[in-house]
């Protein structure tokens, strides 16, 4: 057994787990944050994407002990005080989700993607960067729309603030 301490969504949390426990299982089962999902066994589907020390990672591909000491943000941690994050709001507005199972991973990937590109996103880039997130419901059409729309809103807001 190993002791793992993480700062998750701003709170420091600890728990004991097997050495072999994956971060995603630690988050779901030890911390009770079930918004992060498991959709495959092979790091393909991206339903488990969280942010670790500011980077998006597939939490099924990291041992909980490897993550110990890091700062993790999960889907439960990105809406401020009940207000949806602009990416979450765009997914709602553009119907970028149906069954909702891939959605947490999609949103976490999209937040990271928008931050990394500093506003310079186009459809081809979004589609390319969503390669590691599988959705079976939406055909990606509205997810791509939602990401571009959120990008525009966040980038536009940043631009306005700068002016």
């Amino acid at each position: 057994m190993a002791k793992v301490t993480l700062t998750v969504n701003g709170r420091t949390m600890s728990g004991e787990c097997d050495d072999r426990t994956l971060l995603v299982h630690f988050i779901r089962e030890k911390l009770g944050l079930t918004g992060t999902h498991v959709g495959c066994d092979t790091t393909q589907c991206g339903a488990c994407v969280v942010h670790m020390d500011g980077r998006s990672v597939k939490s099924c591909s990291i041992l909980a002990v490897q993550a110990s000491g890091s700062t993790v943000t999960t889907i439960e941690g990105i809406a401020a005080q009940g207000e949806l994050h602009p990416v979450q709001a765009a997914f709602n507005q553009h119907h970028g989700l149906q069954c909702g199972f891939c959605t947490p991973g999609m949103v976490m990937t999209a937040v990271d993607m928008i931050a990394r590109h500093g506003g310079a996103l186009d459809e081809a880039t979004v589609r390319h960067e969503l390669e590691g997130n599988i959705c079976r419901c939406t055909g990606y059409h509205n997810i791509v729309k939602a990401v571009l729309s959120a990008n525009e809103e966040m980038h536009g807001a940043a631009r306005q603030a700068a002016e």
Binding site: C40, C45, G100, T103, R127, T138
Partner: protein, 788 residues
């Protein structure tokens, strides 16, 4: 239409919980004392079990118990059923072999469940499963339907000699043969419909909870139809009487057909919970999903389509072999018969049709309904045949289709269906215009100049949705009626709960069903809650599949709303001393027409519950239920056009545009309908270009059991889609709805294959059209050309 009523483009009410990680799926459920299950599964495609030794496994850390099929059988748990009886053309009933929830003496596919391990943690259960020793005597296996029907093939079930389950026919064979004999032209083609895995992103899961004090079971499960699950587990598997079994399908992460069925795992976990005295949770991993979730399609067909000298179709003859896998799944017999061959008239007036369907056991995962269920098979067959015929006859594909369109309704096909409404010309024209069909030759020339091969292809589909009239399906062999139920409960403060037997697993019912109530009563959708997916809350329902929830489920809500409105009007008339016939409901008020008298909705609701001043003899309360049994199927139809560019160097196909023009009847929420089409198109494009379940024919091992091996469509495999609607309201239900859930998956595969074969100039190409297959076809053709 109000801001939130029928036809309004309302963003979904249910989204917030999914977007913030608050969705509650079966695997998210945690109950006190819960333990974890892992299934020991057959590593062989076909083998006799000669012994099971669980002693080492039972001694492993954390293990509570290991249970096998003999114990399950001894406790009287029944075998799995097939819910639709089909008779062969000789009158004999289908030959169904036993499917035990845990195999006892024989395993028949890789993944067949043999034993269940229950342990403190999922990891411990998995470890212990490794220590279960099962002795097998391997038997020869067969994976393809053609080989299974062959001389000397391994026998999979003693009940089905030659592995033939049934040999069924529909239509007029003699008339069809006569038409073919007299034809000016006959197009002959062999059609393969590839085998697919549905792959909802949420893997199946179940949590069985036995309460010994109450002798009561609770089953959380990833189901599209929890009430049918309760009925079947109670009536056939002897798990518990219905009043002692609660089935809950909470948030469900997609289904696409694969979550209709009651699988062994639900039954075994409930039973194991009673045996062990602890709640038992099982969650499939993705490989297990490929090994055990029902697959879809897998047809091989021979087709003859006969034309007169004016290019009118005069006859269609189809001979199909459908692979049903190792066991007959719940609707497996209906899919390649009444959901398939009854659609073989397509959008065309065909005077004579005959189809023969043989279904076959193989040592593969059971095959059942997958998005479209039979209708994609019919559409792919017809639209590939039409395209081939147009090429042979030297006329344009649009002209050939136009010449043969059904143009007056109702139209009785020779294969049971009675089409009630449609305008096939409208969707064809809209699609061709949206795709700039006439500009294609210029675009092809541009591609050619860049060394690329450009092609364009169309597909005109029809489907039968809104299943289905109970008496009709009963007469065809269905074990259940296919009505739907609804209850509208108006609370004393005027807010509303709608209880429905439909189940939403991505379809957005919490929004669209609320829009219907908003439309009728003028209340905001925020004051309407949709309750579904729990047999303790909703009395009975048939669930969601076959694009039925709008056409059937919402029609039941309409009926219940009619009753609620009638009672509310009586109360309002009484309170305002007006005639009941003068009361109208508008914008959340009950008004006396032509006066300024009105009562807000909540006040009438409150009056119903205070019961201080109700019409003489009226019962208090405002709550009404209804069952709706449809009078006919509904017939969504449309035209899809794909334009592609093939790189002859690599064989890779790029989709340049994909146009969908659909007739879904009236639409409740265009945003959601478009989303349904997008998702269907992605699955259809996946079938055409990427996806195929493959088996090693010698060993029966599945070769595509992870996302490393089974090509799921990703964002960069797909284009953005161009959609339009040409709606003719359905005359058969009160809202004029036809259904939109499956169209995309039905119409898209033939459009794509027609486009790719147009691009490469080779008609013979099977799905999925992978770069290797397309490149090889091009090499073969250039070799042939070089030789000529």
């Amino acid at each position: 239409m109000g801001m939130e009523g029928i036809g309004a483009r309302v963003a979904r009410k249910e989204d917030k919980r999914f977007l913030t990680g608050k969705g509650r799926y079966t695997d998210d459920m945690i109950v006190p004392g819960m333990k974890f299950a892992y299934f020991v599964r057959s590593p062989h495609a076909h083998a006799r079990i000669t012994g099971i030794d669980v002693s080492a496994a039972k001694a492993m850390p954390g293990v509570i118990d290991v249970l096998d099929g003999k114990q399950l059988q001894a406790d009287g748990i029944g075998n799995l059923i097939c819910g639709w009886m089909i008779h062969s053309k000789d009158g004999s009933p289908m030959k169904m072999g036993a499917w035990r929830p845990l195999a006892v003496d024989t395993v028949r596919y890789v993944g067949d469940a043999v034993a269940i391990v229950v342990a403190d943690t999922a990891a411990e259960a998995r470890d212990a499963a490794e220590a279960v020793v099962v002795d097998y005597d391997e038997l020869p296996a067969v994976t393809t339907s053609l080989a299974a029907l062959g001389e000397g093939a391994p026998q999979i079930h003693p009940e089905a000699p030659g592995n033939l389950i049934f040999d069924w026919q529909i239509g007029d064979g003699a008339a069809t043969d006569a038409a073919i004999a007299s034809a000016a032209h006959v197009t002959e083609i062999e059609i393969h419909n590839n085998r697919l895995s549905p792959n909802p992103m949420e893997p199946r899961a179940t949590l069985g909870i036995y309460d010994s004090a109450e002798d009561h079971f609770t089953c959380y499960t990833t189901s599209q139809n929890p009430h049918v699950a309760r009925l079947v587990m109670s009536a056939f598997y002897n798990v518990a009487p219905e009043n002692k079994l609660r089935v809950i399908a909470p948030d469900v992460g997609g289904g696409f057909g694969s979550k209709i069925y009651i699988y062994p795992e639900e039954i075994v976990c409930l039973w194991a919970s009673k045996k062990t005295g602890v709640p038992v949770k099982w969650t499939s991993d993705r490989t297990e999903a490929f090994l055990t979730d029902a697959h879809g399609r897998d047809h091989v067909s021979k087709v003859k389509m006969a034309f007169d000298k004016d290019h009118r179709i005069i006859g269609l003859k189809v001979d199909t072999i459908a692979n049903l896998g190792a066991y007959m799944s719940l609707f497996s017999s209906a899919v390649p018969t009444y959901l398939y061959a009854t659609l073989l008239s397509g959008q065309y007036a065909i005077p004579a049709i005959h189809a023969n369907v043989r279904t076959v056991y193989t040592n593969t995962v059971p095959v059942d309904a997958y998005r479209g269920a039979g209708r994609p098979e019919a559409t792919y067959l017809l639209e590939r045949t039409m395209e081939t015929a147009a090429r042979e006859l030297g006329i344009s594909p649009a002209e050939l289709r136009r010449k043969n369109f059904i143009r007056s309704f109702p139209y009785q096909t020779p294969v049971i269906m009675n089409y009630d409404a449609g305008d096939y010309e409208a969707s064809l024209s809209a699609a061709m215009q949206a795709a700039d069909w006439d500009g294609f030759p210029a675009r092809r020339a541009q591609s050619e100049a860049r060394g690329k091969k450009r092609g364009i292809g169309m597909s005109c589909y029809i489907e039968a949705c809104g299943i289905a009239p109970s008496q009709a399906v009963g007469s065809l062999g269905a074990g259940v009626g296919l009505w739907e139920s609804a209850e509208v409960r108006v609370n004393a403060v005027g807010t509303i709960e709608v209880l429905t037997g439909s189940h939403s697993h991505g379809q957005g019912h919490e929004t669209t069903f609320a829009q219907l109530v908003a439309d009728r009563l003028g209340v905001p959708i925020a004051s309407v809650n949709i309750v579904h997916g729990d047999t303790d809350k909703v009395q009975m329902g048939m669930g969601t599949y076959g694009s039925r929830s709008g056409a059937v489920g919402m029609s039941a809500i309409v009926k219940a709303l009619d009753k609620v409105e009638m009672k509310a009007k009586k109360i309002a008339a009484h309170l305002m001393e007006a005639d009941e016939s003068d009361i109208v409901i508008e914008n959340g008020e009950l008004k006396v027409a032509g006066t300024d008298k009105s009562l807000p909705w909540f006040q009438v609701a409150l009056a119903a519950y205070t019961a201080h001043n109700l019409p003489a003899g009226m019962e208090p309360g405002l709550k009404e239920g209804a069952f709706y049994d449809p009078s006919n199927f509904t017939f969504p139809a449309g035209c899809y056009i794909a334009e592609v560019e093939v790189d002859p160097e690599t064989g890779k196909t790029e989709i340049l545009q994909f146009v969908a023009a659909d007739d879904f009847g009236n639409i409740i929420n265009p945003l959601i309908v478009e989303g349904q089409v997008h998702g269907g198109l992605a699955q259809g494009i996946g079938q055409a270009l990427l996806e195929e379940v493959r088996y090693d024919e010698a060993t029966g091992q599945i070769l595509t059991a992870s996302y490393m091996d089974y090509a799921m469509p990703r964002a960069d495999d797909l284009p953005s889609f161009t959609l339009s609607h040409q709606n003719t309201p359905c005359p058969g239900n009160p809202l004029g709805i036809k259904g939109c859930g499956e169209a995309g998956a039905i119409g898209s595969p033939p459009a794509l294959i027609n486009a790719i074969t147009d691009a490469i100039g080779i008609n013979d190409l099977t799905m999925p059209a992978t770069p290797l297959k397309v490149w090889s076809a091009l090499q073969g053709s250039s070799m042939r050309m070089a030789a000529e």
